[in-house]
Symmetry: C2
Subunit: 496 residues, 2 copies
Amino acid sequence: MTHSKNTPHYHSLTEHFQKIAHFEHLSALGDWDQATMMPLGGSESRGAAMAELARHIHELKTEPFIETSIEQAEEELLNSHQISNLREIRYQFMQANVVPADLVQAKTQLAYRCEHAWRDQRKNNDWQGFKPNLEALMKLVREEASIRAQAQDLSPYDALLNKFEPGMTTARLELLFGDLKSWLPGLIETVQGQQKNVQPIALAKYSAHTQEALGRDVMKYLGFDFNQGRLDVSSHPFCGGVPGDIRLTTRYDEADFTSGLMGIVHETGHARYEQGLPKEWRGQPAGGHRSMAIHESQSLFCEMQLGRGKGFLTQIQPKLQQHLGSQLSIEDLSQIYTRVKPGLIRVDADEVTYPCHILLRFEAEKGLVDGSLSVADLPDFWTQQMQSLLGIDIQDDYRNGCMQDIHWAVGELGYFPSYTLGAMYAAQFRYSMEASLGSVDDLLAQGKIELVFDWLDKNIWSQGSLLTTDELVKHATGETLNPKFFRRHLEQRYLK
Amino acid sequence: MTHSKNTPHYHSLTEHFQKIAHFEHLSALGDWDQATMMPLGGSESRGAAMAELARHIHELKTEPFIETSIEQAEEELLNSHQISNLREIRYQFMQANVVPADLVQAKTQLAYRCEHAWRDQRKNNDWQGFKPNLEALMKLVREEASIRAQAQDLSPYDALLNKFEPGMTTARLELLFGDLKSWLPGLIETVQGQQKNVQPIALAKYSAHTQEALGRDVMKYLGFDFNQGRLDVSSHPFCGGVPGDIRLTTRYDEADFTSGLMGIVHETGHARYEQGLPKEWRGQPAGGHRSMAIHESQSLFCEMQLGRGKGFLTQIQPKLQQHLGSQLSIEDLSQIYTRVKPGLIRVDADEVTYPCHILLRFEAEKGLVDGSLSVADLPDFWTQQMQSLLGIDIQDDYRNGCMQDIHWAVGELGYFPSYTLGAMYAAQFRYSMEASLGSVDDLLAQGKIELVFDWLDKNIWSQGSLLTTDELVKHATGETLNPKFFRRHLEQRYLK
């Protein structure tokens, strides 16, 4: 694909980005190892090595020849896939190049210190300690946002969104999330009413070892290829590694196997996406995942669309018996996994209340970036929003309030919407899939789960970043993101 | 140490080599991961990423500014440690720079192909398949040796030795090994006569899991710091990682726990050396291990000087009872670990016959490099040497003869002598240590093993490469390498 003599500039760009991908491979390995394997004594030299590597990758991504080569490649005769790759090269170059190196470094250093302090401050509910750090970091975030905005002719918050969701705008999110806000709190109330007399099911304790064996079995059922990846333990589950060698992690709670298990199902969704990215485009920007929302759509497809459905639970219930000796019925599992209960913590939230945590953060981020919300006012804002969205009183509990997530502590704004966009995409994909394949529950009951993944592979995974997000979704489902599918999904599953 | 404004050139060199060390950190991580963790599907992209990294490191090590900066730094006012560091910088630059990049690449590629084919050829005893590959590779090795020789005003084989043992010469090795050859075959015969009526001890089977728990316990006894390292499994045991994060590997044979256990003891010796290298010189050439023979001296000190002695066996025998439920007495262990039995395979050889495998390879390498021994004649040479050194008939068993080691299959000549030099240094260190501390066996019996390691730390580990090998050994023991200590050690332990 890249050897044509008629496209020397395009060709030199692909070679350069292949080189960058090799160094990013090492970066992924270093991150994974740090989270899973590295002993404490390795921190210092690993930190220095990773910083050196990040600097090198940034240098490679901002080499001046890239800009001129892009311009010249645009004059070359490229096929449509090469044109897509060039679009993604331009995007990556712009993202890396637009922010001055000094600002990148200042933000990286401050974020590192802020995060480090936050780990203890959070434990101690120490808002007064965290506040000045966050204020200093927000100043740099606003500076970054404003520079990115100018370069792309976007609003500052849109410029941050574009780091994770190329093409996404605040205006569009306000439409999508405004719709959600109009019906979700009502739905939550109704479902809570329906579930209020349902008694929680007590769970037995199972060792991490036993849970892991179950997890591996479920991963195999979900088509995870252990010749192309691993499962390990880390304190914060993630899906890392590189295509061909995807490294999942999870954590096990002996008293509640259901969370670790569904964590594995979630990460397996991420993993299958990565394992399914187009091999012939490996190492090229067009071969990467489309966006963070599309990535989340794949994990949430597994965890929510499949994982909490009767079809899936029917299939894994015998595995629970086999590995855990569990006596839980399919009805028990369904009840556990569709329990709706507003809570303080985003990552512990169920499928129905989760978007409220995102609505809150989206509003807060917009205000923090445009200056209409000060860091000092954040706790009051949080208290009021938790009350109005979820009916929860949070007063003075900063630890489980605005200090709960790592994202802001490392200066990462603009990411949160991806989670709920992902949930919306996942629902849309399922309905579209069912239009041609019939009910997913039925397919699973017939042992045909691979047809579900074939659809995802054909429509999403194998497309990499060859299409834009809107093109991809339209190509897969006939229309761009439509929030009605998410609503339909929740109503069908939760309203009895 | 590096911030003086009066030493700008020296300072720029230290910064540059620190940068190189950061990339070498990633290289060590990639190697370790490949051997222990990486699934099969990761090979291709890992191979490409590691090749990219090697290329980058080579570019950094051969940047033209280094040569001029070394010259200018030589005019700067440096303290003695800085002068040592500059010597090591010069050495590393010369080693990396002297061979043309084309030759490096040609040899790397050929070695990769040769090794790959060798893995099957060895299994199939396919000398005719291996021979042409080895011939082609030896041609490049001789070319490399000749270029290195010219640049350093050394003989070609000396130039190869110097990659691993700076300062070591063929002439000196001939003296050391000539001495060995004069008494070792006789000693082996005598010891075999003494042991011929001793019945081998049958071993029970133990799971890898159980053996690992024992191994960890023994590593702790040997002072391995698990906050600064790990133990894992790989098909070929090694000690990798970086100071602060040393990664040991071993393999377990359920039918023979004694080999895996002593493998762990051996690698722990390497590990403690790496963990003990001077912290203030981390990332600088003067902070690295002194030479491969000194590295082997530390592993062999643990495995042979300590590991097969009564003092050590007395201490670990209760651990065998505890972890394995083993009923082996201290006498049994001593008999197992001091059994002398000539065999075909170097890596399986006991302490007494091992040097014969090295004498053979040393002679062969000299001949292969100066052209007096052709690859075609290698099997006959092997047969004749095995007969004369160890009294073993090897006829037509190439697999367990000249095809047994990976070293030549990857074009690495000049390394083998390090093993026996290491054994000699280890003996010399023990006698020197005992001159001031008294019997090592007694120290261990008194629970004072840390005094042994304190001596090694003070005299060897903490010195890094600040001294030359001869200076280091003289400083530690009062004289440079003297083979009489190794002879004394073997005679004292094995002649009853």
